[in-house]
């Protein structure tokens, strides 16, 4: 897998611009400052070299396409208005409720969490100065930072943190399920916050680093839904016009403000431009300083455009082929294997991503210790496909509907290639384009499908990769693939804190996914693709791969 990944990545990196070193923009802990030079795209955890090697390769090659200054470290110019052409309109503004990446992209700059994800996928204290974990891993103690103020001028204390957490614990919010493992939340004094777990539960700390457990003022935490976000972050919510624009301004009193790390830009205006062609056209015409959501097919245009920075943050999300293991024909393992053997994964990824992604046989983030290095996607082999068809008792192939969300052109392209490949052994996949809301109701909620495609975001912590989508109790389980051995492994992994020990379990779990041909047939990892004007400086993106942190970005004009 690693070989494949590197192969495809280095082939595309000849022209993919520069992915520059990312600096830890929230570093105020002396120790954490050493994470500074971790290269952006690979963002490998645990010191694995693979990801970083890929990146340095592309940094050399892409150096001519843009400025490769490391401005973030030397400090930036204050002021200016950033015009951002945004791909998906901002949805809800309550971080504990809203799942959309578009909302998270702006809220990431307004709200902050007790702990924060770093570029190396480690989790460090953020609104806390330090944290301690008891030896049995059941008591988490956070010493909160003093002098942090909310955008309403009030100082943040443990009361606010406690109120935010209790809101989620007692309500029905995204992270509520994680509180099944919480015995008690405590605020013994103004600057101490404690979480007492019933048993060791490793994913809790990771969850704390997500917007689902953002800290909000106690009075807002009492509301069922927050409509005007007030956080502690570097940017203050100004205004928004639904499906038109979203504006935020610099937080003058940001607790972490510095000459090196900003925040610098006075005002950030996000204009909602959902049509990718219009967005790109307007950007190239100079209307925006920055756009996100560049279609892979347009990458070469952005690269060739003068005075434009092309940025790629890898990985952002995992795209998979979902097979319903409860209904014919894919309730039959051999039928699933037969399909697996007909698909040329490299070709599919190339067709959809124009060399910007990589194939995978593991749900774990590329380069992380959770990836089982011994498992690779099955190569295309029509003889084996036929053998499995024979074993399934469907020697002449079979027909299945293939429901594809039409709002994802890359998935439609992939589906066409897959259908053409599969047809060669008589597996007839009938593509049906459906809307995203139909996907959610038919495929996800009612599980009324045979085959489909979809994607996951933010898989930087392994519990999402292995539990949320693949364990029957997971929040996003829908392919009906159930395997007791697998379940036992990923359940156990949740209680283990030792990286190596935990990784072993995930490696075994990956093996089962592969051997049993689970209902998720992983297709590829894809990056976030951004375009920016050359005056726009600083690192674009955030460690999670899908949101944006503007804190250390600045405008040179």
């Amino acid at each position: 897998m690693q070989e494949n990944g590197k192969g495809s990545d280095s082939s595309d990196s000849t022209g993919d611009g520069t992915r520059r070193s990312r600096f830890d923009r929230r570093t105020f802990l002396g120790a954490a400052a050493t994470t500074g030079a971790v290269a952006l795209a690979g963002c490998t955890g645990g010191g694995s070299d693979d990801g970083t090697t890929e990146d340095s390769g592309s940094t050399d090659e892409g150096g001519d396409t843009e400025n490769t200054d490391t401005t973030a470290a030397s400090g930036g110019k204050q002021g200016g208005t950033l015009q951002w052409g945004g791909a998906v309109p901002v949805q809800g503004l309550d971080p504990h409720i809203d799942t959309s990446a578009a909302s998270k992209r702006v809220l990431e700059n307004i709200y902050e969490e007790v702990v924060a994800l770093q570029d190396d996928y480690s989790i460090q204290p953020h609104l806390a100065e330090s944290m301690e974990q008891s030896d049995d891993n059941t008591l988490l103690t956070f010493n909160l930072r003093q002098g942090v103020t909310f955008h309403n001028g009030k100082e943040m204390t443990s009361e606010d943190v406690l109120a935010s957490y209790e809101r989620v614990q007692n309500g029905d919010y995204l992270a509520t399920g994680f509180f099944d493992y919480v015995e008690e939340l405590r605020a013994p004094d103004d600057y101490t916050f404690e979480v007492q777990l019933t048993e060791p539960f490793a994913p809790f700390l990771a969850k704390m680093a997500t917007a689902e457990l953002s800290v909000m003022p106690a009075e807002n935490a009492e509301k069922d839904m927050v409509e005007e976000p007030i956080g502690t972050g570097p940017y203050v919510f100004e205004s928004r016009e639904i499906e038109t624009s979203f504006t935020m301004s610099r937080n003058e009193d940001y607790w972490g403000a510095s000459d090196e790390d900003g925040p610098f830009i006075d005002t950030i205006v996000k204009s909602e431009v959902p049509d990718p062609s219009v967005r790109l056209q307007s950007f190239l015409a100079g209307e925006y300083d920055f756009i996100n959501g560049i279609a892979p097919k347009d990458v070469s245009r952005v690269e060739q455009a003068p005075d434009v920075r092309f940025e790629k943050q890898f990985p952002k999300s995992l795209v998979y082929l979902g097979l319903n293991c409860d209904v014919a024909p894919f309730d039959n393992k051999d039928a699933r294997l037969a399909l697996d053997y007909t698909i040329d994964k490299e070709k599919v990824a190339e067709a959809a991503l124009y060399g910007t992604g990589q194939t995978t046989a593991s749900p774990a983030t590329p380069g992380s210790p959770w990836v089982n290095p011994d498992i690779e996607p099955r190569p295309r082999d029509l003889d084996k496909a036929q053998e499995h068809l024979d074993a399934a008792g469907m020697s002449d192939g079979f027909t299945a509907t293939f429901k594809i969300p039409q709002s994802y052109p890359t998935q439609v392209q992939a589906a066409e290639v897959i259908a053409a490949d599969a047809a060669e052994v008589g597996i007839n996949l009938e593509i049906q384009q459906i809307t995203w809301s139909t996907w959610l109701s038919d495929v996800y909620s009612n599980r009324d499908f045979q085959a489909t495609t979809s994607s996951y975001l933010a898989l930087w912590y392994p519990d999402v990769s292995f539990y949320k989508f693949l364990h029957p109790n997971g929040a996003f389980f829908f392919t009906n693939w159930v395997n007791e051995d697998y379940n036992a492994l990923v359940e156990e992994a949740r209680t283990i804190y030792d990286e190596q020990e935990r990784a072993d379990l995930y490696h075994q779990a990956t093996e089962i996914l592969h051997e049993e041909r689970a209902g998720h047939l992983f297709l590829w990892w894809q990056p976030s693709l951004y375009g920016a004007a050359s005056q726009y400086k600083g690192d674009i993106g955030a460690p999670d791969g899908s949101t944006l942190q503007f804190g250390d970005n600045w405008l040179d004009r």
Partner: protein, 299 residues
């Protein structure tokens, strides 16, 4: 033609008067440039559709990523699309989808609409009121919007597109055939048939119906072009033909994303739609000129 009287026997053997009529029709048709041009385009389209597998140089589903988005060349006269498929082959094969939907939908609409219209027009009174108000209600919706709604219910499939469009265009045919039947109702041959004691259904279907064919034919051929356009629109919106079928509308939808880098992906299917629509429109217009005695009178 509408004023021509026919005896019952005369319909089964070609009489001298019929031969005259046909000859006159052919003469007028041939002298009408619009009709001839439209007719030639339609014949050409039909021939392309029939011989599509022979004309198309490449298999339409064969993806070839190495040759993606190639500009038109000798090997690929219309270029290749984003998955490396030959656009010329796909446009040629796409003619089958357009004609299938166009003819299929309008045949359906004619079958239902003509009966409804002629019955309503001949019967008059309450029957007419009920039938035509139902048709008016269906007509109150914009055609594509109504088809879209039907497809959401029926599911996005090509055969459903035919059904939906047949439904949508039925009232248009019904309206035209009703007004034709209204005019025929007071003709002497109808009175004669009534006097002979023929049954109503016999009069409607054997006497009146054939004489209403001309306006239906005109309306039908015009509506074929609308149906072709509607299919393209529906496929463009993702509710018509599903990939990898080479529907022109679907090809335009995909091509839209490549407008700046590979304009041929959009250009050739769009041209094909344009030609087909213009062809059927001209044929319809021409037929009206040829068949309508009033137009002749003005000339």
């Amino acid at each position: 033609m509408a004023t021509e009287q026919e005896t019952e026997r005369g319909r089964f053997t070609i009489t001298q008067s019929q031969r005259d009529r046909i000859a006159r029709f052919v003469r007028k048709f041939r002298s009408n440039t619009k009709a001839m041009l439209g007719f030639s385009i339609v014949v050409l389209l039909v021939l392309v559709a029939i011989f599509a597998p022979i004309i198309a140089p490449y298999p339409i589903d064969a993806t070839n990523i190495e040759d993606r988005s190639q500009a038109p060349s000798v090997e690929h006269p219309f270029g290749t699309d984003d998955l490396g498929r030959d656009i010329f082959s796909r446009v040629v094969m796409g003619s089958r989808i357009s004609l299938y939907v166009g003819f299929g939908a309008i045949s359906g609409a004619l079958a239902v609409g003509a009966v409804v219209g002629v019955v309503a027009g001949y019967a008059g009174g309450l029957t007419d009121e009920i039938l035509m108000r139902v048709m008016d209600a269906a007509m109150a919706f914009p055609p594509v919007l109504l088809a879209l709604t039907l497809l959401v219910v029926l599911g996005p499939e090509l055969s459903n597109v035919v059904i939906a469009l047949a439904f949508v265009y039925t009232p248009y045919i019904a309206r035209v055939s009703r007004s034709a039947a209204l005019a025929e109702r007071n003709e002497a041959y109808v009175e004669a048939a009534v006097a002979r004691g023929e049954s109503d259904s016999r009069i409607v279907f054997s006497e009146v119906f054939p004489n209403c064919m001309a306006p239906m034919l005109v309306q039908g051929s015009l509506n074929v072009s609308f149906a072709i356009l509607a299919e393209a629109s529906l496929s463009f919106l993702g509710l018509g033909a599903q990939p990898p079928r080479p529907s022109w509308g679907l090809m335009i939808n995909t091509g839209r994303g490549f407008m700046e880098t590979a304009p041929w992906m959009l250009l050739f299917p769009a041209l094909a739609i344009g030609i087909a629509v213009v062809g059927f429109n001209m044929l319809g217009d021409g037929l009206r000129d040829v068949l309508d005695p009033k137009v002749e009178a003005i000339e």
